[in-house]
């Protein structure tokens, strides 16, 4: 049988496909300009001594300086401590609040969601001013009044190494749960009611239902919030910048703040770019580990 070569078909983009490409092109263009291009630029700048009038290539110097810099490693350790103290507690609090809100009527549920989400829409600077007032080191400060009432004396919350990190952690514990609560609530509402009915027929109590139904069903959500929470926590900048400036004695200097200082205080953009890429690598590594060990039986 003779086989004839099939004529090559020229794909014509028309109709719905053309419109699809047109819509996607806008998103791709914006992504390329504002995400891909800055990342590639940062990579190039990390090998340069950056100057607006002409940068010079200096190879791996910015990276070697970063790895030799004791302050960078101190900032990494501070960031890890901050992450370990804030992310798990924040997840637990969000989960607990979501469970408490779930049985409420829809209107009341919406009110609570709005209240918990409010700090997310408020300006970080405005919130910091309130927190600075709460952490006033003098005896008239709100926290100092509370600790004095319980006989614990007054403390220099943001001005001493012993309390500064704890103060920032406390800020994270008592705010910014809105997004996690909304996501957890959505996931809780997605759990099929038949599971609870079956458990009730078997005589399961509240905690058994929580442990055997809710926790496993929410595992994908928890993994998502854990990964994004750790990524966000590693990039933390605002609280340290506004509340302590990284002090005292660099006790609250986080990697994000260090990168900001190198870039915008000392104009060492090359070093800042190198540090930001090292930070990105650390975050990517941690995320991979999380997916490997926690995401085995998670399906999306």
């Amino acid at each position: 049988m003779t086989e004839y070569a099939k004529p090559i078909k020229r794909r014509k983009i028309k109709g719905d496909a053309a419109w699809g490409y047109a819509f996607v092109a806008v998103a791709v263009l914006v992504f390329a300009m504002f995400t891909a291009y800055p990342v590639v630029s940062a990579l190039i700048i990390s090998f340069q001594e950056y100057k607006p009038l002409g940068s010079t290539f200096i190879g791996l110097e910015n990276y070697t300086e970063t790895f030799k810099d004791s302050l960078f490693w101190k900032a990494v350790v501070n960031t890890i401590i901050y992450t370990l103290l804030t992310v798990p507690v924040s997840l637990f609090l969000s989960f607990a609040v979501s469970i408490l809100i779930l049985p409420l009527k829809k209107k009341l549920q919406t009110t609570f969601k709005a209240v918990y989400y409010l700090p997310a829409v408020a300006s970080g600077v405005a919130l910091s001013v309130v927190w600075l007032w709460i952490f006033d080191p003098m005896p008239v400060g709100i926290f100092n009044k509370v600790t004095s009432f319980f006989g614990l004396g007054t403390h220099n919350w943001l001005g001493s190494s012993a309390y500064a990190m704890f103060s920032l952690v406390l800020m994270a514990w008592l705010s910014s749960h809105g997004t996690s609560i909304i996501i957890y609530l959505a996931a809780l509402l997605g759990i099929d009611g038949s599971y609870y009915e079956a458990a009730e027929l078997d005589g399961a109590n509240f905690f058994q239902k929580l442990w055997y139904i809710v926790v496993p069903c929410l595992k994908p959500t928890t993994l998502f919030l854990l990964v994004t929470g750790i990524i966000g926590s590693f990039q933390v900048f605002q609280n340290a910048y506004l509340m302590t400036g990284g002090g005292p004695d660099n006790a609250t200097t986080m990697v994000g703040l260090l990168i900001f200082n190198n870039a915008f205080k000392y104009f060492e953009f090359g070093k800042a770019a190198a540090q930001s890429l090292v930070l990105a690598a650390i975050i990517a590594g941690i995320s991979l580990v999380q997916f490997k060990f926690l995401g085995k039986d998670v399906e999306y």
Binding site: G159, G247, D249
Partner: protein, 472 residues
């Protein structure tokens, strides 16, 4: 209908993207005129609220400038003090800074290192240069280059509550004239403390030291301890001197005496001014000349029972006091020289544009403009033309305070344009990464003065080498 909607959606999406991208475009090329000195030109200036009415005078300033130079337009971009640095840095790093920006002369070396400042030493006329006092003009230099004109030179002092000092038996008028040593100062602030039942209701001395303000605190004190700059005349790093350790010990001892609050490391500029106006402290720092005006304004509000007076405040007569001298050294006043700094973009400016920028910087920093602003700030005039313009203006200022500031300006720390930018940058980084964090720990009582001194010495040796630091 479906097709129309698609077209409409695409147009909207593309216009959104193009609008965003257009923000990345270059600014107009109005300044790229040829070398014709009479050609039309626009000079841009980024200016913060230097004084209370400064920004409301912008329209008049641009009109007056245009009347003086009809071919030139002065385009002023206002900025808040909070935004000033970030706005300027963003523009500098994008390669398109304003022609003129108002900033502290201590920031000049940073931008010189970037190559983004415009040296006007070959363009400023002899007549212009002669108008300025020599000392503040030197602060606008780096190496041999002149990078703008100074607006004012302000002494960093401390300020006292007249009534409290009189009650404590402090002869403040003598101090204003003759100065004081640290031991005399220490005794004086001890007398200012009021305590009852172990609780202090008034401290002798409160200086803002939270965050970066601690840099000011140490910077002002070390200048009166024989270290007027971070480098000595031989360009050796000075803060390894034993006098530096003495200052650190004195900083700690004032807290240990109870004359300063133990929470000092968290007290920012706003808090310590509030403490001063509410009678919680006898002497405050740092003290700027304008504080006399602020105190007077609050006194008037209290008298008129105006609700906007500081809550819990009392009437205060503000007294300007010099910083004490340390370790037997001569007191030298730390000064802040702010001015109109001249920038360049990525393109080489034409000679004509450069001359026009110089005209604008000179216009802003001298004559009636400078006279009005400096009078509002209660600072001394530093140009002949502004002194002349100020003759017809009245300033309600305490004569003793005025004389005290003038006496301090006579001992003002001279500028150091000889310090190379790379050395200066290293010193700034050492200050930010070692001195300030350690000072915060020292003030919080977490480390000893000796430990801080050793940390600074060790960092200085690794930054400048064994031979690059002072050994005494």
């Amino acid at each position: 209908m479906k097709k129309k909607m698609r077209v409409l959606a695409t147009v909207f999406a593309l216009s959104m993207a193009l609008t965003t991208l257009s923000a990345c475009g270059s600014k107009d090329d109005a300044k790229s005129n040829a070398d014709d000195p009479n050609a039309k030109d626009t000079i841009t200036a980024l200016l913060p609220p230097v004084s209370a009415n400064f920004q409301s005078n912008f329209d008049q300033m641009t009109k007056d400038f245009n009347a003086k130079y009809p071919n030139l337009t002065l385009k002023i971009e206002p900025a808040s003090w909070e935004d000033m640095t970030s706005k300027l840095d963003t523009q500098v790093n994008a390669g398109s800074p304003p022609d003129i920006a108002f900033m502290g002369s201590d920031g000049i070396s940073k931008y010189v290192q970037q190559g983004m400042l415009m040296d006007i030493s070959d363009t400023a006329t002899e007549e212009m240069i002669k108008d300025y006092d020599a000392a503040p003009l030197e602060y606008m230099k780096n190496g041999k280059g002149l990078y703008g004109f100074p607006a004012y030179m302000e002494a960093h002092a401390i300020g006292g509550n007249k009534e409290f000092m009189e009650k404590a038996g402090i002869d403040y008028k003598k101090v204003q004239k003759e100065g004081w040593t640290f031991d005399e100062f220490r005794e004086a602030i001890k007398k200012g403390v009021v305590s009852e039942g172990g609780k202090t209701s008034r401290y002798g001395f409160v200086f803002a030291t939270a965050g970066v303000t601690s840099k000011d605190y140490l910077g002002i004190l070390v200048k009166s301890a024989g270290m007027p700059a971070a480098f000595d005349k031989d360009l050796k790093y000075a803060y390894t001197s034993k006098n530096f350790l003495e200052v650190l010990k004195d900083i700690r001892v004032m807290i240990d005496d109870g004359s300063m609050p133990k929470e000092l490391s968290s007290i920012d500029a706003g808090k310590r001014w509030n403490m001063f106006l509410t009678g919680q402290t006898m002497i405050t720092g740092k003290g700027l000349a304008g504080f006399e005006r602020s105190a007077k304004l609050n006194n008037e509000k209290l008298q008129n029972k105006d609700a906007s007076a500081v809550k819990g405040s009392i009437p205060v007569d503000y007294v300007v006091l010099p910083v004490p001298s340390f370790a037997g050294a001569q007191a030298q006043a730390s000064v802040a020289v702010d001015g109109y700094v001249t920038f360049r973009g990525t393109k080489e400016p034409t000679a004509a544009h450069k001359a026009n920028v110089v005209k604008a910087a000179n216009f802003l920093s001298s004559g009636a403009n400078a006279a009005t602003t400096n009078n509002e700030l209660f600072v001394a005039q530093i140009t002949e033309s502004s002194r002349k313009a100020a003759e017809s203006m009245t300033v309600e200022r305490d004569a003793d305070n005025k004389a005290a500031v003038e006496a301090m300006l006579k001992t003002a720390v001279p500028a150091r344009p000889d310090i190379p930018t790379d050395l200066g940058a290293k010193a700034i980084k050492l200050e930010d990464e070692v001195i300030v964090p350690k000072l915060q720990a020292l003030i919080a009582g977490e480390i000893t003065p000796e430990k801080m001194y050793d940390a600074v010495k060790s960092a200085a040796v690794s930054a400048f080498g064994e031979d690059g630091v002072v050994k005494d």
